[in-house]
């Protein structure tokens, strides 16, 4: 199924420097992405998932945020040491990204063809008609109907689902090795979400692209991903193959996330929710960060941060309660 490691993130730390203090949005995150696989990065809002993605591309808001530590190895080369010019050659070409809201991802004053061709021409200089042809091909790959006509249209003339396909087309147009999808279906109609996910899977099968799939929805993870990393308050608390994590979640947070996915076939009186809120970044607890909301937490949990325990093959989690079974 999967091949060699194409993206290796090691101990990534990204801090935001605000007037009220330093916010450690990404506080020691490590994961690896293999060719041909989909890795899900799951967590509630503001847990640091999107910041992680921006850190990989080095597109953090200038002045406000900075990656202060870590290595991001793409094909063995550390992206964090690259110059701006080198990064621009890599963005779009080796790593691509899909953003969440199709309504705002496209520039309203240019045709979708213009925006597509611009991406292609940046990385593959060539005569205009070759670029044009590549653009039409990209639209075809994302199953946009009548691509030769649509390519001359403006974003406002397309529906949300179509726009998101265009964004997908832009991402795959330069045949990247890695694609980061940041909540790509969250803003789409529910009826279209499944179609889009299937599309991504098909594209991946052909191209063997590695996909980092960011979402807050464990249900989508189950449908889409091969492996999953669960993120909470800036750190990864569990990771492993999707099947294993789903059937045997080791971390209480993961268990709660999975429990809150509404199941169609089971009748329930109340939907499961997780009590409480994630901690403020300025007020991070000493020990395990999930302790304030965890039913199993004790004093030890609250004072010391749990190390990584191996729960199964390639399945790890950070919880003191796993000490017994380790």
């Amino acid at each position: 199924m999967s091949g060699e490691v194409v993206l290796d993130v090691r101990d990534l730390h990204t801090h935001f420097f605000l007037r009220r203090g330093v916010v450690k949005a990404v506080d020691g995150v490590s994961f690896s992405l293999r060719r041909g696989e989909v890795l899900g990065l799951v967590g509630e809002s503001a847990c640091g998932k999107s910041v992680t993605a921006l850190s990989l591309l080095r597109l953090l808001p200038q002045g406000a945020a900075r990656t202060v530590q870590g290595k991001v190895l793409l094909d063995g080369e550390d992206l964090l040491t690259k110059s701006d010019q080198e990064m621009r050659r890599i963005r779009g070409r080796k790593i691509a990204m899909i953003l969440q809201d199709p309504q705002t991802s496209l520039n309203p004053v240019f045709t979708i063809g213009n925006q597509l061709r611009e991406a292609i021409a940046k990385h593959f200089a060539g005569p205009a008609d070759t670029v044009f042809q590549r653009a039409v091909d990209a639209l075809r790959k994302v199953k946009l109907a009548a691509p030769e006509q649509r390519i001359h249209q403006y974003p406002h003339q397309l529906s949300g689902g179509m726009k998101q396909r265009v964004v997908g087309a832009i991402a795959i147009s330069c045949e990247p090795q890695v694609m980061i999808a940041d909540e790509p279906t969250t803003a789409l109609d529910v009826t279209i979400q499944l179609q889009y996910l299937q599309l991504l899977k098909e594209i991946q099968k052909v191209s063997h692209m590695a996909i980092l799939f960011i979402t807050h929805d464990f249900g989508v993870v189950a449908k889409m991903c091969d492996r999953v990393a669960v993120m909470y308050a800036g750190r990864i608390v569990e990771s492993g193959p999707v099947r294993k994590v789903f059937n045997n979640p080791a971390h209480p947070y993961t268990q709660a996330l999975i429990a809150s996915v509404p199941k169609m076939k089971v009748q329930v009186d109340r939907l499961h929710t997780i009590e409480g809120q994630p901690p403020e970044f300025s007020d991070m607890p000493q020990g395990c960060r999930f302790a304030p909301r965890c039913a199993l937490a004790d004093d030890h949990c609250r004072t010391a941060y749990p190390p990584t325990y191996t729960v199964g093959t390639e399945h790890t989690a950070n919880c003191w309660k796993l000490e017994e079974s380790a």
Binding site: R91, A96, T104, V109, E118, A119, K122, Y154, Q157
Partner: protein, 306 residues
Amino acid sequence: MRRYILQRLWQGIILLALVTTIVFFLGRLTGNPVDLMLPEDATEEDRIALIETLGLDAPMYKQFGIFVVNVLQGDLGVSHRYRRPVVEIFFSRLPNTLKIVPAAMILAMIMAIPLGIVSAVRRGSMIDRVSGTIAVLGIATPNFWLGILLIYIFSVQLGWLPSARMGTPLHYVLPTITLGTFLVAGFMRLIRSSMLDILDSEFVKLARIKGLSETTVVWKHCLRNALIPVLSLWGVFMGGLVTGAIVTETVFAWPGIGRLTFEAVIFRDYPLLQAVIIMDAVLILLINLMVDILYAYIDPRIRLAE
């Protein structure tokens, strides 16, 4: 697009009709329109003749009818002071105004666009703060005083530039700067604030994700979007431009239609003023229409509204 333009044109015509009506009624407001329309040395014969021509002894609606018919035929009355048909005077002065107003606007655009963009991109830097200060001053300084100040500095004290009337290319400098200043200030602030909004938008993020250079991102993706509010808020600038033209031409004794308006006021030349206003209205509506077309051209959402 065509529908949009026709709609705007229609609105303009209605506005014109409204203006004409108001101008007419204001003239009859004082209850003594005859005196208003005649110079001071008019004889009794003149009075009777005027009453007849304008039908001032007829009921109001009839008077209005006569007025409208006259206007549509291009007869807007005769000026007291010049003893010539107003339309004639207007068109003889119009070219002079057309020499400085577009120049001021172009100057404003050339200065405001780069300054606005750079201020936004390098927010908080020295250039942002300096241009921000100049903009704030530019808006606060009344047009007429700026002109006089410039005359004082460059004409009286330094003797570099002439202070009044037309003549050499040098004569164009001060009036253009005076007229252009508040435009530069206003445009610059508007462009800066819309740039700041745009720089935060998702499509700019996506442009960077594609690997485009920052120059392309700013000048291709941001600029066009940043100009849109300038065009849609054009009406605000138009008002200031008209005031500016009147005042600037007055200060520099520039023989254009702005100064003509001033003369009409100062000499209580009512027929002249009435007519100038109507003609100004036509001119303004034409300019507004052009701006609307430009706006539709730049923003495909308007151009291709389904």
